[in-house]
Chain length 372, copies 2
């Protein structure tokens, strides 16, 4: 009832042309404007149970952030943040539209980062082998498996290779990137079946302790789910993992789904394309199934893990809940949080010093923990 009244108020405000407070709130009101704001806020937060925050404008630049990252932090929302494809054809059109610029940029990126890419098929699953021109001797018997992100829908084929290229290049590792099947044609558990099939094949030829598995967002969640499934199926575990800002709770559960909603300029809100992709992927399965939301799994016995996120990340809570749960299970778990960054922005621009820093930190962590 109370909620209905709130929704009605929002609807009425929209109907009378009230376009929200966002444009009328100064970043740092001073003098009487600040006093009024503080008084209103104090009154709105004088009872336990609810936190009411006012409209807010935050200006870039943010301190301690490179110009390249400032450009990402200050960028507008992506045009597709609230995309609502109504059928398989509309999903495929959106997926292809988003993949095109990434694929178009690949030749230059491969050249710049000094890697070669070879398409392969492993255990019947499509994949790519990314090989850096410079590989330190210590890494010659090592191999990384990359599981790409994209909300279980985006990043088909070569479109998801940039992250694999970044770690191959900055870390000097050979990387196998799994081009797993995705919705709308292949809902859960096809993606996990593919990742698992590749992992089972890789452990036949490379010692598992010489291998790490990594991925960001959906790829981070799938990395965690892969280890859970390997434990269950008694398949050897990797020597280390790097779940970057993992989508570890696929439902809208986690504090920063609220507090960073409309602040994160990559995902923006769970209620846009993201939650729709979650439901499309799950295909009716329970969103709290640990294979869909690995935060509900048992992390005991997990390999050393390194997690990465940013202060504006919609998945900051997904990341820190995962970090704490790993630590509580006795797992060595490292956490890096980048100033001002929204979701996965640490991997979006190879020229940003923060990108090199993030992937170098992951590479060092792998170097410390992998066999050779």
């Amino acid at each position: 009832m109370k909620n209905n009244i709130k929704i009605l108020a929002v609807t009425l405000a929209a109907a009378i042309g009230f376009t929200g407070c966002a444009q009328t709130q100064s970043q740092n009101p001073t003098g009487s404007a600040y006093t009024e704001l503080a008084t209103r806020q104090g009154a709105a937060n004088a009872q336990p149970g609810t936190r009411n925050s006012p409209p807010h404008s935050t200006l870039t630049p943010v301190q301690d952030v490179s110009p390249q990252m400032q450009a990402l932090i200050g960028a507008p929302y992506p045009p597709h943040f609230n995309a609502d494809p109504k059928n398989a054809a509309e999903w495929k059109e959106l997926i292809a539209r988003r993949a095109a610029p990434s694929i178009a940029g690949l030749p230059a990126m491969k050249e710049k980062m000094g890697v070669t890419v070879e398409p392969v098929t492993i255990a019947g699953v499509k994949a790519f082998v990314v090989t850096p021109k410079n590989m330190p001797p210590a890494n010659r018997g090592r191999l990384l498996m990359h599981i790409h992100g994209g909300g279980y829908v985006f990043g088909p084929g070569e479109a998801a290779l940039p992250e694999a290229i970044l770690l191959a290049s900055f870390g000097g590792f050979k990387v196998v990137s799994v081009d797993y099947r995705m919705p709308p044609d292949f809902p859960y558990p096809a993606a996990m079946d593919d990742a698992m099939a590749v992992w089972k094949e890789l452990v036949k030829t490379t010692p598992p302790k010489n291998m790490a598995v990594f991925g960001t967002s959906t790829g981070g969640a799938m990395t965690l789910s892969l280890v859970l499934r390997a434990k269950t199926e008694r398949v050897p575990l990797p020597g280390a993992i790097a779940p970057g800002t993992p989508w570890s709770d696929i439902a809208k559960i986690g504090d920063t789904y609220e507090t960073n909603e409309w602040i994160d300029n990559i995902l923006v809100t769970w209620d846009g394309w993201l939650g729709r992709a979650a439901k499309l992927y799950a295909g009716g399965a329970d969103l709290k199934d640990p294979q869909l939301s690995p935060i509900y799994g048992d992390f005991s016995g997990f390999p050393p893990s390194i997690l990465t996120t940013g202060t504006r990340d919609l998945f900051l809570s997904n990341t820190v809940r995962t970090h704490r749960k790993l630590r509580r299970a006795g797992v060595e778990a490292d956490l890096n949080v980048y100033e001002g960054q929204s979701h996965a922005q640490y991997g979006l621009n190879p020229d940003a010093p923060e990108t090199k820093e993030a992937f170098t930190d992951i590479a060092r962590f792998f170097d410390r923990h992998l066999g050779r």
Copy 2:
């Protein structure tokens, strides 16, 4: 000019009795209300440079958080969040009023946590020695120095002892807690002079590598400033430090000073008592002086460091900027971020499992890095 118009708009809105959007925004608007909101937000964030967020209500409970911590997360703003003492007498009245309940609760806390407290004077500075009843043999030759928080104004005498008691009890360490001089009578650098005098005295009788320095908020900043000053004065450094959510940038510089403003229910906003205390403490000194804002200092050669914060912490950026800067300087630095917590809530309730977890993690880190 543009800013003035914004302030005018806020003032006018207040004058006509418009009490802000906070109460009219549902947590999760659905259907047409969500569509209207997404459309408004898309329009308000279609240009680079500014992030505009709408009013927002966030309900407790937060998942993965204990009932004890839920109570803290859901608590109203503190009544003094916007206190504006006009002179020394008003500051002292506020300081004494806030200290009273903390001091009143100490006898029961000491009993419950199994510690004894002895007032001492070290190098002319008032301090307390906190001794746990249970101390593992490995800790008998070790000693911790505690520098309390409170925005450089709060926590006189025994009022600031709870944190020292928590680490003494959960970690089994003897702790010296420094009761440093504070404004309004003693502005910068009196507090740092006192902390430094105690440290210089302690290194005479205990090997520095057997000692760690820790503190939260202001105490975290002072911990960092102490190491900077010890480097400059060629005084031996501690074997480890734990700057908890350090006030490492005392000015309002840092992304979460904006994004967590009005969300953090402990500090609420820099523009309230907090910024006033910063100016009172600085007494005209440059807020970017590394002794006031240690983020501007040189962290090379720092001892291993463990940092703690929460997703709603106004000082989340202070903490992660410090963490990254330590790592960039080659320092081993660990970071724990707690789900849903505002500033320093990890130390407010000894019965919350998160409190035990945070202090146990710090104690383990010290155990790993201190000599014995």
